[in-house]
């Protein structure tokens, strides 16, 4: 059974993605096949780098169609990248197949957006949480039960819930069950894809706090995918902002939200409705996210960008270090002097946190 003992306290890189590209082909009609039109595809991800350290939470922010869920699925190799690699603790996931991959997967967990479809609602809560242990053949039956109960404890569910059928639980409780199942094998990486989006506001705060506790208690690497900057703001040490499969900006979350560099990040932040009737704001941004089938040339954000210049329509801006430990992909954001920046997402000196204050 895996033990985290060796990695806690160090800043080991848990997962690293290099140049991830993912294209999904679109099924062609017969007529377009006959006319040999060029094959169309959805450009879900177009070269994304990411590094997540042990004990660190990285937020992946983006609108629908930005590729954020694809990124999460690639990190766990639920999908195979078109180009690029994913390393888990130094092991290239592409080099593993079948049994070896499955064995490695016990170190990873995933929490999905909709707990109603992620959990088998006919089974008892205990059976749902125990399932990963059975799949990975960890411990004896009674040990499995014990571990499952512990995981439920950790997720803030009382033991009396364990024998109930999942269908009797509310959405918030069910999401806790899903979280308990994700942590039961003591994974070192958890990818959570919009885990609070389907929950009610009063319950959402409970689940956000639960993630904060789990991270502190288990020291795991957490990739938190969300369209909601408010939620990411509470959890993520670092964030990457995705737009049409490219990283627009990355850096420490607290810095990005205070002083966003990229015009897209600025628009995103300015769009958040403020829970304050004294501050009514106007929609800042124009247009909508274009189709990922025909992404715009150059900077993919240029059709909506207020700063767009002719150059933005033809040349794709690289992700550059514009300020110390802050990267953005925009021609209009100048690189501050005294920093020869490289393309260094998740560079070690964008250091992992020394535990965020709670």
């Amino acid at each position: 059974m895996s033990d985290r003992g060796d990695s806690t306290g160090t800043v080991a890189v848990v997962t690293e993605a290099v140049g991830l590209v993912k294209h999904y082909p679109i099924s062609e009609s017969i007529s377009s096949r006959l006319t040999r039109r060029p094959k169309r595809k959805v450009h879900a991800l177009n070269g994304v780098d990411l590094k997540v350290h042990s004990g660190e939470t990285v937020g992946v922010i983006g609108e629908s169609g930005s590729g954020k869920s694809t990124l999460g699925r690639l990190l766990l190799r639920l999908e195979v990248p078109t180009e690029g690699q994913v390393h888990f603790e130094g092991i290239d996931l592409a080099s593993l197949k079948g049994e070896d991959l499955r064995r490695l997967r016990r170190n990873m967990g995933m929490v999905f957006q909709n707990p109603y479809s992620a959990v088998n609602r006919r089974r008892s809560v205990l059976a749902v949480v125990r399932e990963p242990l059975e799949v990975h053949d960890i411990g004896t039956k009674s040990e499995q039960n014990l571990l499952a109960l512990k995981a439920l404890d950790l997720a803030g569910l009382s033991r009396s819930v364990a024998q109930r059928r999942s269908s009797e639980l509310s959405g918030g409780q069910l999401q806790r069950v899903a979280i308990a199942r994700a942590v039961v094998t003591k994974p070192r990486l958890i990818v959570a894809d919009e885990p609070t989006a389907s929950l009610d506001i009063s319950v959402r705060a409970q689940v956000i706090n639960l993630f904060a506790d789990l991270r502190a208690e288990l020291g795991l690497a957490l990739v938190f995918i969300s369209h909601d900057l408010g939620t990411v703001s509470y959890l993520a040490d670092r964030s990457i902002v995705l737009y049409l499969g490219r990283v627009m900006e990355t850096g420490r979350t607290a810095v990005i939200e205070r002083e966003p560099l990229h015009p897209y990040t600025k628009a995103l932040i300015a769009s958040i409705p403020i829970p304050d009737p004294h501050q009514r704001r106007q929609a800042p941004d124009r247009g909508e996210i274009p189709s990922a089938v025909t992404p715009p040339p150059g900077c993919s954000y240029h059709p909506r960008c207020p700063l767009a210049r002719p150059r933005c329509r033809t040349e794709t801006p690289p992700l550059e270090e514009k300020r110390p430990s802050r990267w953005a992909a925009c021609w209009e954001v100048p690189v501050m002097a005294a920093h020869e920046g490289g393309v260094l997402v998740g560079d070690p000196h964008a250091s992992p946190p020394a535990g965020r204050s709670r």
Binding site: I208, P273, I289
Partner: protein, 400 residues
């Protein structure tokens, strides 16, 4: 009734003709759904009124009954629903109307926007055909040859260049565009007096959400239509509404102007809810969630339904008596909580409306509403309802 000024102005209007000043009046509305031997009590004695051009938010979590209220007003509840109380639009009762009449009303007086724009369109019909149908049914005076011109101009108003797109199918539009087209469809029928919107931005991205909110704001400024917006998102309510009703467990637990609601919320639920919101940018420290979860509102409830999660339980009274919605002392603000002494005195009557009677307390409330001072009017109105209800409860217990 948001401000004194408004109240005074509306009072004069009320003196002449009550019906003309109040756009929508909901009185003691209760909705139950049969569920096995029990009844699911989705909405319990909800009363409020709206003036023309006002925008009111109904805020609550899932299961609070907010959508049921909205659907009841639009006459969109299933035939199984047991509805009691009264809903009047321009003084005319809507409950018990024939479906055909309701359909006319929905196209002409009431507009409805749904949460999920994708499922609201027929996927096998072009957008143009679906919009033309609205014109055909609700605007027979428009000549067929002018249909497309009319549609294009309305689409232009919601920010969509419809030229050459009318023969496109719904799947060829983005969610945000479809939401705009749905709003266009509402405006196409005619100028509705009131727009009912059920979580219109929940399924949209933040940037698109900001656009749709702005569109709603613009349309209201242009046409003066009233807006009744159901949302779980307090921030959305803060951005476009004048007044808010907070619902919990099928009841209105607080009613206040949007400014008061945020500046000095009075019901413990509202206060705890506001505290649990993640702030952006992130503030130091943890979130303070409301413990526990919403319980489904099954009939035969006793006491305050928020009690199991409440941080300010007073004692036995919270378990025994349903608090009524009474003025808090803050002008125009009401809350249903025993924290407010008036509430505990009147709570039994105000809250325990069993909704068995079809006639609501609205008539008596309206009579009370004609009293002298605005705030006084408010209280008298409340009292009127309270008395009427207690009388009815008295009868009900006597007959048992």
């Amino acid at each position: 009734m948001t401000t004194v000024g408004k109240n005074l102005a509306s009072r004069h209007a009320q003196d002449n003709d009550l019906a003309s000043s109040t756009l929508l009046a909901v009185g003691s509305l209760s909705v139950r759904f049969p569920q096995g031997k029990q009844h699911l009590r989705a909405v319990s004695s909800v009363s409020f009124s709206m003036e023309p051009t006002e925008s009111v938010a109904v805020v609550g979590e899932s299961g609070s009954g907010k959508t049921t209220v909205l659907r009841a007003i639009a006459g969109l509840l299933s035939g199984q629903a047991l509805i009691s109380g009264s809903i009047t639009l321009h003084g005319e009762e809507l409950i018990g109307r024939e479906e055909a009449q309701l359909r006319q009303l929905r196209g002409n007086q009431i507009g409805f926007i749904f949460q999920d724009p994708v499922n609201c369109f027929n996927p096998s019909m072009t957008i143009g055909a679906q919009l033309r149908r609205i014109l055909k049914i609700h605007r027979p005076e428009v000549a067929k040859s002018n249909w497309d011109a009319e549609i294009l101009s309305i689409l232009g108003r919601v920010g969509i260049d419809g030229r050459g797109k009318l023969k496109n199918y719904p799947f060829e539009f983005s969610q945000g565009q479809l939401q705009r087209i749905m709003i266009a469809g509402v405006c196409l029928g005619s100028r509705p007096a009131i727009l009912l919107a059920d979580e219109p931005t929940t399924s949209l991205d933040v940037t698109t959400e900001a656009h749709v909110l702005e569109l709603l704001r613009e349309l209201r400024a242009e046409s003066g239509m009233a807006l009744l917006l159901v949302t779980h998102n307090l921030a959305v309510a803060a951005q476009i509404c004048d007044r808010a009703l907070v619902m919990y467990g099928g009841r209105v637990v607080e009613e206040a102007s949007i400014i008061d609601l945020f500046d000095h919320p009075s019901h413990p639920y509202t206060r705890q809810l506001l505290k649990s919101l993640p702030h952006f940018p992130h503030r130091q420290g943890r979130l303070s969630p409301i413990p526990g979860e919403l319980v489904a509102a099954i009939a035969s409830e006793q006491g305050c339904s928020f009690r199991p999660r409440c941080a300010e339980v007073l004692g036995e009274i919270c378990a025994l008596q349903v608090p009524g919605l009474v003025p808090t002392g803050q002008l125009g603000q009401k809350a249903a909580c025993h924290l407010f002494p008036a509430a505990s005195a009147k709570g039994v009557d105000g809250g325990k409306d069993h909704g068995d009677e079809v006639s609501g307390g609205e008539e008596s409330g309206a009579e009370g509403g004609r009293a002298e001072e605005s705030e006084g009017a408010c209280q008298a109105e409340r009292k009127g309802i309270g008395e009427a209800t207690s009388r009815r409860i008295g009868e009900a217990t006597a007959s048992r």
